[in-house]
């Protein structure tokens, strides 16, 4: 599109004092041009017409603020992603559209009002949901940093999945020994208050002061915390009548295998493991990241403890990603574990009556079907979201991804945070994660939670609703609109009037649109501003 023509046009618009074009507005020189402009022409409004506000609005708002202009007196017009990039074959029309969009932006900008972000205090304490190794690590880190931690565990004791594991990769240390040391550290840490066989019943409030109702076998109690970390992990899929599971006693899952090994009740001679059971299939499309490595670990342990044993792993792709896993994968081959690749269309069959006896599989490399003797068949199944994810997501008002795990705000920008401020996520609750990765994420989530708690206050975006009490008739329709119950109907000397709790309000505007008396106006998106934009559309 013809940018100089647009710049000339903008110069002609009323109230426009200065208009300039620069190549990279989001680069340092662009930012300093804005600041210089504000000071030079003592501007009271700034408009940037370039890419999308979704990525760079905070950047330019900060620039305005640094130059002494209230950051809500800034308007962003998208003439790249929604104009020049999508109308490449019609440059003149794209240029005209850019002019219209900027004219509408100017119309809105004229009516922008300065808004102040309200500082709300943050209670320096955190509730960690989930007492597994991930939850404990986050709790220990925050406690060491000096914050009070409420560690809430549904089960009877701390430790989570690690309690069921036998030995851990890569050092083959006893899982129980590690869990023990972690639990002792938690016990020794005075700042951590652990709640066992306790469920979170209700969560109200917002970043800085969440009111949480806990339910310990019927006994309810309430705690107030500044931040929440979700570390409830995930559970192993129990395959339903696949490969004879549930029918043959000697067909078990990897977790069940580890429990037997832990109790010393395992003495398999010919073991066949089948990977991707119930995973990477149309019904459950995702790969659960480290179940291959669990199989490799257990297979290697079997070989090491019983050199006479024969162990096969039937896999579709061996996900030994990174350095340690690839090295361990090669080490397990050296220990005699045999790997056979099978195709999703030609899955292996478990044969036997009463108990599994052999496994028939199409051997890709040899190009024919072979049979493996098996006195034990181990199914490697993926981790699946916990059953109560749905309930917790509704309670915390945080979304779940398609597969049912918790959905973080942005996979790269904010991988350990939710869009809802003050609530953080780590471990397999976000996505199947092996222990070391999970612990690292636990520390990450602790770091994110520590930021508001250390600062002591938060300043949520000032885009909230505002009730003009002279117009409000108290009909109460707005109350029904708000999922965050951020608007309440107060009864003052016999009269009903609506009132917005700015800290709770997310600024969606549903109440503003529904308010029949026009008493509710949405800061930064007022009716007048939007009507002005509409009028400017055809001006």
């Amino acid at each position: 599109m013809n940018v100089p023509e647009v710049v000339e046009y903008v110069k002609g618009l009323p109230d426009i004092v200065h208009a300039e074009r620069n190549l990279f507005t989001c680069s340092e020189e662009g930012i300093s041009a804005i600041k210089k402009g504000i000071k030079g022409h003592n501007l009271n409004r700034v408009i940037v017409a370039s890419c999308t506000p979704r990525t760079h609005e905070p950047l330019f708002r900060a620039a305005c603020e640094e130059a002494g202009l209230n950051k809500y007196l800034f308007e962003f017009v998208n003439i790249r992603d929604q104009c020049s990039w999508v109308h490449m074959r019609e440059p003149e029309k794209a240029t005209q559209k850019a002019k219209d969009l900027i004219r509408m932006g100017v119309a809105k900008a004229r009516l922008l009002e300065p808004l102040e972000e309200v500082e709300t205090p943050v209670i320096p304490s955190c509730m960690v949901m989930g007492g597994g190794v991930v939850g404990m690590s986050a709790a220990l880190n925050l406690a060491e940093q000096g914050f009070e931690v409420h560690l809430v565990e549904k089960g009877k004791g701390l430790g989570g999945t690690l309690l069921d594991l036998y030995k851990l990769f890569p050092t083959n240390e006893q899982a129980s020994k590690l869990v023990e040391s972690a639990i002792q550290k938690v016990a020794a840490q005075s700042k951590i208050k652990a709640y066992l066989s306790t469920r979170v019943k209700d969560v109200r409030g917002f970043i800085g002061n969440f009111e949480v109702v806990l339910d310990q076998d019927g006994k309810e109690s309430e705690i107030k915390v500044g931040t929440i970390i979700v570390a409830i992990g995930a559970e192993e899929l129990k395959p339903v009548h696949q490969y004879g599971y549930g029918k043959f006693p000697n067909v078990v899952t990897q977790l069940e295998l580890e429990q037997r090994m832990k109790k010393g009740e395992f003495e398999g001679q010919n073991v066949v493991m089948i990977n991707c059971v119930g995973a990477r299939i149309p019904e459950r499309t995702y790969c659960s990241r480290f179940c291959c490595m669990t199989a490799v670990k257990n297979a290697t342990l079997i070989r090491e403890s019983n050199p006479a044993s024969k162990v096969w792993i039937l896999h579709r792709d061996l996900m030994a990603y990174g350095e340690d896993f690839e090295n361990y994968y090669r080490w397990s081959m050296e220990q005699g574990v045999r790997f056979i690749r099978y195709d999703r269309e030609k899955p292996p069959q478990v044969i036997g009556d009463g108990t599994a006896e052999k496994v028939r599989v199409w051997h890709q490399l040899r190009g024919r079907e072979i049979e493996l003797p098996a006195d034990m068949v181990v199914l490697t199944t993926p981790l699946i979201p916990r059953a109560d994810n749905e309930e917790i997501s509704k309670m915390l008002k945080v979304p779940l991804s398609e597969q049912g795990f918790f959905l973080e705000a942005h996979v790269k920008l904010m991988p350990l945070e939710f869009a809802t401020e003050g609530i953080y996520i780590c471990g397999s609750a976000r996505w199947p994660t092996e222990i070391a990765e999970g612990v690292a994420q636990a520390y990450g989530a602790a770091a994110k939670a520590a930021i508001p708690m250390r600062r002591g206050y938060v300043k949520p975006e000032a885009i909230t609703s505002y009730v003009n009490e002279d117009l409000c008739g108290g009909c109460g329709i707005c109350f029904e609109m708000c999922p965050y119950s951020a608007i309440e109907i107060k009864a003052e000397n016999g009269k009903r009037v609506a009132h917005c709790i700015t800290a709770l309000c997310k600024g969606c505007g549903t109440c503003g649109a529904a308010c029949p008396s026009g008493a509710i106006s949405m800061n930064h998106f007022t009716d007048e501003q939007i009507l002005a934009q509409i009028a400017a559309l055809t001006a």
């Binding site: 998208n78 929604q82 219209d100 529904a514």
Partner: protein
């Protein structure tokens, strides 16, 4: 104004989290679509007050488009449900004003549906081209 030369002017509302993001993705992926629509960004499709729709038609827009999140995706949990109901009632009332209900369109577009955004906009523009000008711009 004969049919093929007529260039409709369309006002679009797009919710910041889904439809607007979808429009950006269409941009990043360079999906081309006709330039007849001007988008106003709102925080949620629930923010779109029927007053805005009537004001758009009154001031000369030939079509009004509202883009929101798929049910269940709304960043504010329920905003899009409210938008859907207001839209359905408004669609019944518009013909009483002589405004074909097809001139108003509500679509669910997620942040990852760049291609769909382009298709839907292109289709809506063709529908409006068929319907012809609303005619309000002349007697403005």
């Amino acid at each position: 104004m004969n049919r093929d030369k007529f260039e409709p002017l369309i006002l679009g509302f797009a919710c910041n989290w889904c439809a607007y993001a979808g429009a950006d993705l269409a941009g990043v992926s360079r999906f081309q679509y006709p330039p007849n629509m001007r988008i106003i960004r709102v925080m949620c499709s629930g923010r779109v007050d029927p007053t805005f729709v009537l004001k758009a038609f009154a001031s000369g827009a030939d079509g009004v488009f509202i883009g929101g999140c798929h049910p269940g995706d709304c960043h504010y949990i329920e905003g899009n449900y409210k938008a859907r109901r207001r839209y359905e009632l408004l669609k019944k009332m518009l013909p009483q004003y002589g405004i074909e209900s097809e001139r108003l369109r509500l679509e669910w577009i997620s942040a990852s549906e760049g291609a769909r955004f382009a298709e839907v906009v292109m289709d809506f523009i063709n529908v409006i081209k068929e319907l012809g000008a609303l005619g309000k711009r002349q007697d403005q």
